[in-house]
């Protein structure tokens, strides 16, 4: 019997010939991602670090991104403590306020490569599955212990196989595909499991793969992984030139607990309605509902191609009166590229506000929260009640195209009506 991607990576990382689902293995991750929570993580083991030291200065990847620039003295102090830790222990991979969202930085800087194991104290660490890495989220306490030991346990997951075919029709993106899958299998449909993407992936651009893998956690998945192909190789050649890596992929006869098939050409623009990500409906079903805010950004959909497709809809036009369009590029590199090619100018001319690269209002910390009774269309990954400000506000999740089209009309809008 063949092996799945998860079984192969975990066997290799555990130094075993063979592992089976349900087995618990001891592994040493290639990198450990942390963000603003680094200060809380480090404070748990401050004394232990003095005794035992940091296990490996190459292990942590730290990006300050969640509440940037600091919103108050307490956050500023947290950031200062992170910088002290980085200096004191010689952390090799550190990215300060303004560099971007941690998950975008990891992939842009070549810190998650095919076949690698990356753990992170953030649930969207699963994003790097788009580059064939086995990556998943853990809690702060576990991250703290990893700083000391470099080692933890993982349960070998069962795997769901998703087979894709066809091309996205006009107005449909990777976000719509992943919302379709989450709507079909539910917010716990892949709980504890790995999800592998198979079939014809030639029509799924690398940026869309990041979006899809990023939202693996919204179906409960431990990882959401893609094989290495030309798109992956091109991305890595640009962002990790010269890096050595060993792609790993499932055998043809691997065993799956479930197989799902999607013809991309049959998909339509979708939203996740309040207040769960699996509350999925066609945009056409909710169109016409007034919005007060449109948010384009985050680790899910704040990449250059996301900004570009939004700009294409908004070029030469202006967003509706009474709507706030908030654009937050996912990294400094994306911001620079979007400045260079005129995308930012187009968006600002159309009435957008542009915020500094970071997580922005996605997690409800600052920069564009919602008042009671307000409705937001967001390109982010969660619409939980109260997540983005008031618990009496509504967040609809959609693609960058749907966000831009809705900002233009001031109503939830099917992007196919505005392209």
């Amino acid at each position: 019997m063949g092996k799945t991607f998860a079984e192969k990576v975990l066997a290799k990382k555990a130094g075993l010939d063979d592992v089976v689902p349900g087995q618990i293995v001891t592994v040493r991750p290639d990198h450990l991602l942390m963000h603003d929570n680094t200060s809380a993580i480090v404070s748990k083991v401050a004394e232990d670090l003095k005794t035992y030291g940091l296990v490996n200065p190459d292990l942590p990847v730290i990006a300050i991104d969640h509440v940037v620039p600091a919103v108050d003295e307490k956050t500023a102090l947290g950031h200062a403590k992170i910088r002290e830790f980085v200096k004191a222990y010689g952390v090799k991979h550190f990215f300060d306020v303004g560099d971007g969202v941690c998950h975008q930085i990891v992939v842009e800087k070549g810190l998650a490569l095919p076949g690698q194991l990356v753990l992170g104290s953030d649930s969207h660490t699963c994003t790097y599955g788009a580059l064939n890495a086995f990556s998943t989220g853990i809690d702060r306490t576990e991250a703290a212990v990893l700083l000391l030991t470099g080692e933890t346990w993982l349960r070998v997951p069962e795997t769901i196989k998703v087979v894709l075919s066809g091309c996205f029709p006009r107005g449909v993106m990777g976000k719509d595909l992943v919302l379709r899958i989450i709507g079909d299998i539910g917010a716990d449909g892949a709980n504890y499991m790995a999800v592998e993407f198979h079939g014809d992936l030639s029509a799924v651009p690398q940026d869309d793969r990041f979006t899809i893998a990023n939202m693996g956690i919204e179906m409960g998945a431990k990882i959401a992984a893609f094989p290495v192909d030309g798109a992956t190789e091109a991305y890595l050649a640009a962002h990790a030139p010269g890096a050595a890596y060993e792609p790993i992929w499932a055998d043809g006869d691997a065993a799956y607990c479930r197989v799902l098939t999607y013809d991309l050409s049959k998909l339509e623009p979708l939203v996740a309605k309040p207040h769960t990500v699996d509350n999925v409906a066609p945009v056409s079903e909710v169109k016409g509902l007034p919005i007060q805010q449109a948010y384009l950004g985050t680790c899910t959909n704040g990449r250059l191609s996301d900004l570009q497709v939004a700009a294409a809809i908004l070029k030469g036009k202006h967003i509706a009166p009474g709507v706030r369009l908030l654009v937050i590029p996912a990294s400094r590199g994306i911001f620079q590229a979007a400045l260079a090619d005129g995308t930012i100018a187009t968006l600002v001319d159309a009435g957008a506000m542009v915020g500094p690269p970071g997580c922005g209002p996605c997690l409800g910390a600052h920069q564009g929260l919602l008042a009671p009774g307000e409705r937001c269309i967001s390109s982010s990954n969660r619409n939980f009640q109260g997540r983005m400000g008031s618990k009496d506000a509504e967040v609809f999740l959609g693609s960058p195209l749907t966000v831009a089209a809705s900002a233009l009309t001031g109503l939830l809008t099917d992007p196919r009506d505005e392209i």
């Binding site: 618990i24 083991v45 649930s123 853990i138 030991t149 409960g220 997690l363």
Partner: protein, 163 residues
């Protein structure tokens, strides 16, 4: 002992709102906001030894550990749910918070029922009816028995590296 009963997909924002994630990390900072947007009376009512019963996918969403840390700190003796989200399962194990997966027990519960947990027998009794639940893997029991991942790791570091 009070049993707090909640539904499916109780996410981490309902357990502990994201707006406090980077300003509240210690138990005493977490407690006033625990379950704030789900059950505003929880923080004032909960007492050590109380239990939570919930539906499927309890703890889904963020990797923030305040929900697990907070529930352990207020003395929740166990969360019994139909299923748990993966990261919350790890976070709770690492805090030494007991999680029991037993859909039948959750379905059987009616307000006022007495709930008794017998970890040794792997059995939960709801209103006099007993339901079995699968044993926890030994790796997780060892972490729980040590009082959480930090004490567990310190024991091991001391054993392997001295000091």
């Amino acid at each position: 002992m009070t049993v707090f009963k909640y539904g499916d997909d109780i996410n981490t924002d309902l357990l502990f709102p994201g707006r406090y994630t980077y300003t509240c990390g210690k138990a005493e900072e977490i407690l006033p906001h625990l379950l704030e947007d789900l059950d505003k009376d929880f923080a004032s009512k909960v007492k050590p030894g109380d239990m939570i019963l919930a539906g499927k996918n309890f703890g889904c969403g963020s990797s923030r550990e305040q929900p697990a840390l907070g529930l352990k700190a207020v003395g929740i003796s166990a969360v019994v749910a139909k299923s748990f989200a993966r990261i919350f399962f790890r976070a709770a194990t690492n805090q030494g918070l007991l999680l029991v997966e037993c859909p039948a027990a959750v379905d059987a519960y009616a307000p006022g029922d007495e709930v008794v947990l017998d970890l040794g027998k792997g059995q939960i009794t709801v209103g006099g009816r007993a339901y079995a639940f699968p044993p926890l893997p030994p790796e997780m029991l060892a972490i729980r028995d040590a009082g959480g991942l930090l004490p567990y790791a310190r024991q091991r570091l001391k054993a392997t590296r001295g000091q």
